[in-house]
């Protein structure tokens, strides 16, 4: 869980302005979704892969393992979206490429279904590489900084900051409790596992309550008035780079326009 964030801190694009990175990722993602051109989607996926692995210096093995995470959902989801089921009646089993018949129900892929599934696969791949570019180059702190700049309500950014901070504390605690329980055969059988997991969640919950009260006391001691004021990092802008990135987006738009209509799905 810590891995993505620590790679973001260590990436070579860490010094880029958060707005540039977020703008690039979101604009490219929007083009991938709205372009309706498979060539553009493949281009985006390759471009984002090169930028994340080549430019930002994320280890390729880690990147590929990360790509495998949504693969299960995307593959099963795309396959089920493309799957056609027909019952008995006129036109049953008319234009299946691959089909299995059970009684009088036929299940299989038609040419249209297969192209829908492939189109979905490509679009998801393109959008996921955009998400990974943002996640692997921009630490959460910078994302929250950007949200504050975008005038997101202070309450929300403060909740985000607190949640972010304590995710690591509580995850650490959970893994310690889990180790301790495992040492005592806590996960040796199925019923043990259920009981241990219950105990673990209870322990984490109570500790969370304890932390929140300690935090309240600590803040009160420092004159807390309802706002969490913290020092902000400074981010340098680079107009040349911003212009290059805008040019890149324009290029993708032109490609999408030239290739319009050639769409699987």
């Amino acid at each position: 869980m810590v891995a993505v964030d620590s790679h973001a801190y260590a990436s070579r694009l860490r010094s880029w302005h958060p707005a540039e990175k977020a703008g690039l990722a979101l604009a490219t993602m929007f083009i991938a979704l709205a372009a309706g051109s498979s060539l553009t989607e493949v281009t985006i996926a390759v471009l984002m892969l090169v930028m994340t692995v080549g430019l930002a210096g994320i280890p390729p093995g880690f990147y590929l393992r990360l790509l495998a995470l949504p693969a299960v959902f995307v593959l099963v989801g795309a396959a089920s979206a493309g799957l056609s089921v027909t019952g008995p009646g006129p036109g049953a089993g008319a234009d299946f490429l691959v089909a299995v018949s059970l009684g009088n129900i036929t299940t299989g892929f038609t040419a249209a279904g297969l192209s829908l599934a492939t189109g979905l696969l490509l679009r998801s791949l393109a959008a996921v590489t955009c998400l990974y570019f943002l996640a692997l180059t921009t630490p959460m702190v910078d994302v929250i900084w950007l949200l504050r700049r975008l005038r997101v309500p202070a309450l929300l950014t403060e909740l985000l900051e607190l949640t972010y901070r304590y995710i690591f504390v509580l995850a650490d605690l959970a893994s310690q409790v889990r180790t301790a329980q495992s040492c005592r055969q806590g996960y040796a059988s199925w019923s043990n596992s259920c009981r241990s997991l219950g105990g673990l969640i209870n322990a984490v919950f109570r500790k969370a309550g304890w932390y929140s009260r300690q935090l309240a006391v600590a803040l009160a001691a420092r004159g807390y008035q309802g706002q969490l004021a913290v020092m902000e990092a400074e981010h340098g802008r680079c107009p040349t780079r911003a212009a290059w990135l805008a040019g890149l987006e324009a290029g993708l738009l032109v490609l999408a326009w030239l290739d319009r209509g050639h769409y699987l799905g």
Partner: protein, 256 residues
Amino acid sequence: MRRHPHLRSGPRAARPVRPRVLAVAGLVAWLWLAPRPALAMHIAEGFLPWQWCLFWAAVTIPFFLHGLRAIERATRESPDLKMLLGLAGAFTFVLSALKLPSVTGSSSHPTGVGLGTLLFGPTAMTVLGSIVLLFQALLLAHGGLTTLGANTFSMAVAGPLVAYGTYRGLRLVRAPSWLAVFLASALADLATYVVTALQLALAFPAATGGVAASAVKFMGIFAVTQVPLAAIEGLVTVLVFNLVAGSNQEELGDRP
């Protein structure tokens, strides 16, 4: 005399809820029969067409703003509530990253919707749930930014409402507490997946039969994995709830 909380959780956990034995036996049988690929419940990035991304974001935003405003009002009265909610968000995130016990060896995670709603209330859960989903997308590469609206609706709006409604309804007819907790969290889990299946069906209607046929298709595919998972999540939530209710209220502090 106050004892250390962790020392107490062991013997407490053994407090029996009788029908559990039957439930466990049934579950084990079911789990061995059903094939279970590890399936994520969140709609992956880029999976929905952009029109549907905007639609679900537009549907979710009023619920989110309502929750945020409720929290804002509450924090104005007691400023310490903000810290508690931040911790609650972190707790929900860690909860959703825990592994549920499984017989077949594949890993699966609880949604935490039921427990979160019972502990923090459905309104706060909408805000906490969307924060958790954002972090899951950016820290765990799970879910996505364009599908954030759709995922928030299924996990942080529909799920909590079902959990809250079920729990309240069952307590009203004087059902035992463990049954209300079990059904609230299991049904919240199921509601989350039914809504997800509906969202996918709306976006990808079947060529013959339209949205309804497509919904049946998606639910059929996801039901194999989700029905046993919902039952396990219900079971674990009952265990946690017994422990939490059995522990010292003073140690828990105020809950919203």
